[in-house]
Amino acid sequence: MSDRKSSDDVQQLLRDKRLGDLQYREFAPTHAAQLKLADSKLRPPEPGLPPVTAVPPAPAPSAALPDTPAPARSGPVAGLPSVPPRAQPSAEPRSAVHESPLNFTFERLRRQVIPARANGPLIDLQLAPRHRAAAIPRLELLQQRSLADVFSTLQHASGTRRHGS
């Protein structure tokens, strides 16, 4: 079984669980290590990755971060880029199912969107590559025939079938 690299934890969770509309906030300050690598270069461990991986929160005015977390007030989050506020996601879409369990019908079941089921398994059929080379010349040949030819062939074929049956 393959264990994927899990250091990108929050985004990995949001991605794997398809929680795209969920905004995540980090509160504990993250300290990326400044590594002195054995080849004497000073560089952060993963240049491709930002040190903090979180879904951008709503309003994030730029402000200096306190060393100790004091997140009672809204706004600044460690190391996050400033982005325009996003619309709040709507309330839980399937909360309606709690009205009364007796009320469900098959139609209602059909309407419920369950992403887990909507995405069926990907089937790898491993079919052989398709070759159309044989079909095209024959089709072209048939299309080039005159109308008289076509009718005479049809007449001949139906006559043969009658005699054969």
């Binding site: 690299k5 250091s7 934890d9 969770l13 905004q23 990326a32 709503a58 839980e92």
Partner: protein, 704 residues
């Protein structure tokens, strides 16, 4: 209008269903119908749309209903040629079959449409987020088990001034107090241990003020996103009293350890947390499971705190909240992980408590009659409680063919082929439908092994709890222990080898009777086949009792994390990946440029892009490009860094389920059969070794 249309649809469906269930058929036409049903369900199984699973449930219920109708109306041994003994045994079997049928139908209703609820978003303004008290109750667990839970709780992504961590120490231990003081959490004790865990939590409720209470068993380590995954649901709907998340285990339970099925076959609990709780959520009936959950304080206070009348205080508490009109929610994303029970005896002890507790609730607060519950909640709670009464039916199924083979009792008044024609579609359709619905959370035929292991142990406690619900006390499940050697747990296996031996004798007698010539060879062969199946199941239980050694107190978790290692603070670092990590050590891929030897001191940094705390370690093994190192004594900062990298990652446990294999019933049958044979072999080995050892021990004494 809608209800009228539902009633009309049900009536329209009921009439043909009644005809299908009751139509008398000859053997030929019944066999024809059986084959048709089996083909139909296998075709439906291949259709991906989940609505076809509902059709499979309907077909399965029809097949089972038809079988039971036939059993009740045509096969009871009534008449001159049968005696009271036949009737007694027959009624036992029909009772067991009725129980299994009830559980099957209730199970289908319970899991008809798993909700797969997604977490709800929190307000953008964190100042609007509520305050949460984190409770970590403990009684006699060692501090080493509790430390990672406390450190992970402190690292939760939630405004630091809006949550407090409390260790509820019913053991009143000084070392706990000192640790809590050191890391900055509150240590709460009380004068007595009244009402065990429930009483412990209720006592702490009086000393705290948070709007919400998150509860973690002391060995359940939360991931950092726990509160943000659960609290949105609470804020989105003010009537939700409880948000539960799965109990995930990162160590193998006794089945997984002794059969070597860890992360290959779903364990006993996965059906409940993977499917049933999601199914309960559709009916607004997801239960509180005692840990990895958030509760609303107002709801808890309204019912007088955690229920104390039964030993399964969790389910009882949520039942009470539901009956007061509160809702519940289940987020099926593992947001905490814990240690499974190490030994079979500890596992059995835990399950006895659950069974006794559910039977107590069934007796004192029966969900079928409790006011305030809706239809779905009654079904879900009742099924959860009735499930724990499987002890007697399971034993009846394991011994019924012996009534015919050994005692000559005619408990089914029908010829063998007719029984097969009616019973086969009932069993096959139920198996295939359950396989489709339960998917990766429970493989076919494994329920038989899980239940056989526990059946004899929960039989008496459940019956006693129904007779007198005040009997029994809360027992704490032992965690974090070791099994120092391989051994056959002959004490706990006593019922299994009794069942195995009886079926072995029945099988031998059946073969002899068959060879000697029988008036009803079809009936004889049917019973021999049933006995063979029972032998495999009892053998599987024996295999579980063959305890495998587990000497590590710290469980190694196979996980690939970015890491860096260096020889000391002044030397250059090498980037690498972990292979597995535990609380006491780590295995890494050794960078080719680096040379280390056993005994060398090194430093390791886990997840360097979000952590700068180096761990000190000593190399214990170094071969094949892998270096295994043992941590030396850690400071709190180092321990916290290790906890956050190993247990606290938001995505720490979500991949486990995705790698599960889906169920294939025939393959599962072969798998169970394999373990059955292995258990039988282990049993004979143990038996002959015991006899031989006893004999050789006795010999010198005699000669002397």
């Amino acid at each position: 209008m809608r209800q009228l249309s539902i009633v009309l649809i049900l009536v329209a469906m009921a009439l043909p269903a009644y005809a299908l269930v009751t139509a008398p058929l000859s053997l030929f036409w019944q066999a024809f119908t059986a084959i048709g049903m089996v083909i139909a369900v296998n075709v439906l199984r291949r259709l991906h749309d989940y609505r076809w699973a509902l059709a499979m449930m309907g077909l399965s219920v029809l097949a089972s209903s038809r079988y039971l109708y036939w059993r009740l109306t045509e096969t009871l041994p009534l008449g001159q040629e049968f005696n009271a003994w036949d009737l007694f045994l027959s009624l036992g079997l029909i009772g067991a079959e009725l129980y299994a049928y009830t559980i099957l139908v209730l199970g289908f209703v319970q899991t008809i449409w798993p909700l797969h609820r997604k977490p709800a978003a929190l307000p953008a303004d964190a100042s609007q987020w509520p305050t949460v008290d984190i409770f970590i109750p403990s009684y006699n667990e060692p501090l080493a088990v509790v430390r990672p839970t406390v450190l992970a709780a402190l690292a939760l992504d939630w405004p630091r001034d809006k949550f407090n961590v409390y260790v509820l120490d019913d053991g009143r231990r000084e070392e706990f107090r000192a640790f809590c003081e050191h890391v900055g959490v509150t240590h709460i004790t009380r004068a007595d241990n009244k009402h065990a865990k429930a009483g412990n939590i209720n006592a702490a409720l009086k000393h705290t003020r948070g709007e919400y209470i998150a509860i973690f068993d002391c060995d359940h380590i939360p991931v950092r996103s726990f509160l943000q995954m659960t609290m949105g649901t609470m804020l989105a709907d003010r009537e939700v009293s409880l948000v539960q998340t799965p109990h995930h285990f990162f160590s193998p339970d006794p089945f997984e350890k002794n059969l070597n099925t860890f992360r290959k076959v779903p364990n006993e609990g996965e059906l409940f947390y993977g499917l049933i709780q999601d199914g309960n959520d559709f009916w607004d009936a997801s239960f509180f499971c005692g840990s990895c959950a958030v509760l609303r304080r107002t709801a808890l206070e309204e019912i007088g705190g955690i229920a104390t009348e039964t030993v399964t205080e969790d389910a009882h508490t949520s039942l009470r909240m539901h009956s007061r009109g509160w809702k519940s929610a289940y987020i099926n994303i593992p947001q905490a992980a814990g240690l499974a029970t190490e030994s079979l005896s500890a596992h059995v002890g835990q399950r006895i408590r659950w069974a006794r507790g559910m039977a107590q609730i069934f007796r004192v607060d029966n969900p079928m009659f409790k006011p305030g519950l809706n239809f779905g909640q009654r079904i879900c709670y009742s099924n959860a409680m009735l499930h724990f009464f499987y002890g007697l039916p399971r034993l009846i199924f394991l011994t019924s063919p012996l009534a015919y083979l050994l005692l000559g009792a005619e408990i089914i008044k029908a010829q063998g082929w007719m029984v097969l024609a009616y019973a086969a579609p009932h069993v096959i359709l139920a198996t295939v439908t359950n396989s489709r619905v339960q998917g990766p959370f429970r493989h076919s035929f494994w329920a038989e092994i899980y239940e056989t292991v526990l059946a004899t142990f929960i039989l008496v406690p459940t019956l006693l709890a129904v007779i007198n619900p005040k009997l029994g006390k809360f027992n704490v499940t032992a965690k974090g222990g070791i099994v120092d050697r391989d051994y056959f747990d002959k004490d706990i296996a006593r019922p299994y080898y009794l069942l195995f031996s009886l079926n072995m004798i029945g099988f031998a007698v059946g073969i002899i009777r068959l060879l000697a010539g029988s008036a009803h060879p079809d009936t004889l062969m049917l019973n021999i086949g049933w006995t063979m199946y029972n032998l495999l199941i009892a053998g599987g239980a024996l295999a579980v009792a063959n305890e495998k050694r587990q000497v590590r107190t710290a469980v190694r978790v196979r996980t690939k994390l970015q890491a860096a290692m260096r020889l000391d603070a002044d030397s250059g670092a090498y980037l690498t990946d972990t292979l597995d990590v535990s609380y006491s050590g780590v295995a890494l891929q050794l960078p080719p440029e680096l040379t280390v030897a056993t005994g060398d001191h090194i430093q390791i940094l886990l997840m360097p892009e979000r952590n700068d705390v180096w761990l000190d370690a000593t190399v214990r093994r170094n071969s094949h490009g892998i270096v295994a190192a043992q941590m030396t004594e850690m400071s709190i900062a180092q321990e916290s860094a290790l906890v956050q990298a190993l247990f606290g990652r938001a995505d720490a446990w979500i991949q486990w389920r995705e790698t599960q294999r889906s169920d294939k019933p025939l393959s599962a049958l072969l798998n169970v059969g394999h373990y059955g044979l292995r258990g039988g072999r282990d049993f004979f080995q143990w038996f002959f070794r015991s006899v031989f050892t006893r004999g050789s021990r006795g010999a010198p004494a005699n000669s002397a």
